[in-house]
Amino acid sequence: MSVKQPKGEVTPGFSTPVGTRRKFFQWVTRMAAGLIGLSLAIPLVGYVISPALKRRDKPWVEVGRVDELTAGQPKQLEYVATIRDGYLEAKTHKAVWAIKQSDGQVTVFSPLCTHLGCGYHWDGDERKFKCPCHGSVYDVSGNVLHGPAPRHLDVLPAKVENGRLLVVYKEFKSGTSTAVEL
């Protein structure tokens, strides 16, 4: 049996390789281990982080017909979409505010107050959107009138096809002066 010297020098045991032969075996062993390690590590890292980084295209979802809306009168419409949660499919329910303009265009607001994300409601008598949490008030176009809300109500992408109103639901960071999509 060979005995190792402190500085990595090896006294040859019976037929135990020394010198460059020993170096060669060490080198091949390290290369093999490195190759296996690397070709496992790269796929495995991708495997773990990929679903976390994947952003799905959000779908256009029909929320109702345009002729159900009265011009200048906000209406809360139900938004139901099927979302994929990994290998699960789940139905998500949201509500959005839609207002038909006099020119027939439809504006759709996110239902969350831009201050801290509370749900606001429409006060038909005063013709204002009011947030019950901290008293933010918006006009019918979404502009801030009072309260702590830092920005205009968030507008969601909307389009009209064959009389059907289609919306893409998004959420935005609350409390910032510009809209940052989450």
């Binding site: 037929s15 135990t16 060490q26 062993t29 796929p43 495997y47 990929s50 679903p51 990994g86 290998y87």
Partner: protein, 441 residues
């Protein structure tokens, strides 16, 4: 690096550990014939690592198991690779263990004083078979479900305790949620703990008795070589080779799931993994009152003989194969028995008329889209649309079906059939199924 090592060494005395680990003397020197144990250990580590990563997304319930495996296979980056490695790694492990045992048998390395190492090895082999059996159910596809159904039923032929055993294995009256979760727990928690203990014991015994070396006394006496660097180098090269083969198999040979497990579909013919095939074939030839002999008496006896072989073998000292002809003949006989059954079984499997996967997929699509809500196929389904039992005779042209599925009204004006959003693949497979629906020719 070396300064850090010195710093650690001055506290933890690593160099003496390193010497113990690497300077193990191998009688007669390093050899390529000794690599199978290391290869098996490497495969075990690979199975453990890929298994841990599969568990990141796998869900062990009948509702989600199949979908979560599909998700790993199709959605997760490199998911197919991790699953492929785990799948092929299981087979490779059985091969590596087989070769390892063969080498030990040939070299007489199980003989005194190494009986315990052999016995622990046989137990490790049995644990690996349990891994294979429990892991097979987890994807919860048709193959998994029906193969496990049969495996569990075989335990039922054991006298007296058979029925009880079946219930314990299932965790209830039927193969279902409780079966899946206990198989999962056994596969990923209980067996790993057990096998780790077994591997440690196996290696501990190896280091206490030392490797056997060549059977030729003169060669062994000529001197020994340390485990490091040459045996380590050989082991590493073989591990890399094994890994490349597995990576190639995982990449080039896809292993798609069959349909989701359907307990009501008794027409499904399951096929066990190849390493259980010889046994499966054997069972086909034994019927009636003799059945328990095949299902558990013979396998049980075979396991016991294997386990106690170091004590049953009458030549305790002779290791050279040429000097123990009867022992070798028995070994060869066993191999011939196993491999002929495997051969017959494989031949029969390929003789079976295989269902075209496109047709099977098309059939699944019919179910998925609920086509039978309107159409009747072989006695099942509504009468709103035309019956499709023999539609292949009526409409034998592929093109017609393509057009029809894309837009029913284009070839069949006035039809009330809705358009279905089909991918090209689905269109193709659905058409294949339609064309297969014909009277026997």
């Amino acid at each position: 690096m070396s300064r850090l090592y010195d710093w650690l060494d001055s506290r933890l005395k690593l160099k003496s550990v390193e010497r113990t680990l690497l300077d193990e003397p191998i009688p007669g020197g390093a050899s390529w014939i000794y690599v199978f144990g290391s290869a098996t250990l490497f495969l075990f580590v690979l199975q453990a690592v890929t298994g841990m990563f599969l568990a990141v997304y796998y869900a062990p319930t009948p509702d989600h198991a199949y979908d979560s495996v599909q998700y790993i296979e199709n959605q997760v980056t490199f998911g197919w690779f991790v699953r492929g490695l785990h799948h092929w790694g299981a087979s490779a492990m059985v091969v590596a263990i087989g070769l390892h045992m063969l080498q030990v048998f040939l070299y007489g390395a199980f003989k005194p004083p190494r009986e315990l190492m052999w016995m622990v090895g046989v137990v490790l082999f049995l644990i690996v078979m349990m891994f294979a059996f429990t892991g097979y159910l987890l994807p919860w596809d048709q193959t998994a479900y029906w193969a496990t159904q049969i495996g569990i039923n075989m335990a039922g032929t054991v006298p007296l305790v058979g029925d009880f055993l079946v219930k314990v294995l299932r965790g209830g009256e039927t193969l279902g949620a409780l079966t899946l979760s206990r198989f999962f727990a056994v596969h990923v928690l209980f067996l790993p703990a057990l096998i780790l203990a077994g591997i440690m014991l196996h290696l501990f015994i190896l280091r206490r008795v030392g490797p056997a070396g060549p059977w030729d006394e003169a060669k062994a006496a000529a001197g020994s070589e340390t485990f490091y660097p040459r045996q380590v180098y050989m082991d590493a090269v073989v591990m890399l080779g094994v890994f490349i083969v597995l990576a190639a198999l995982a990449t080039l040979v896809p292993f798609p799931l069959t349909d989701k497990a359907d307990p009501s579909d008794t027409s499904f013919v399951p096929v066990p993994e190849w390493y259980f095939l010889f046994y499966y074939e054997f069972l086909k030839h034994v019927h009636g009152p003799l059945e328990p002999v095949a299902t558990w008496i013979l396998p049980g006896a075979a396991v016991l003989v294997m386990l106690f072989w170091p004590f049953l073998d009458w030549q305790k000292k002779v290791r050279a194969p040429a000097s123990r002809p009867l022992g070798m003949a028995l070994g060869v006989l066993f191999l011939v028995f196993v491999f002929s059954l495997l051969g017959i079984s494989l031949k029969n499997l390929y003789a079976v008329k295989r269902v075209d996967p496109a047709i099977a997929h098309g059939k699944a699509l019919v179910k998925q889209f609920g086509c039978t809500a309107c159409h009747r196929i072989h006695g099942e389904g509504g009468a709103i649309g035309p019956e499709l039992s023999y539609v292949g005779d009526r409409r034998p042209e592929r093109e017609w079906h393509f057009k029809h599925f894309r837009n029913p009204q284009s070839v069949s004006p006035g039809s009330i059939m809705p358009k279905f959003p089909l991918t090209d693949q689905e269109l193709h497979d659905l058409t294949s199924y339609m064309l297969s629906l014909r009277r026997e020719t």
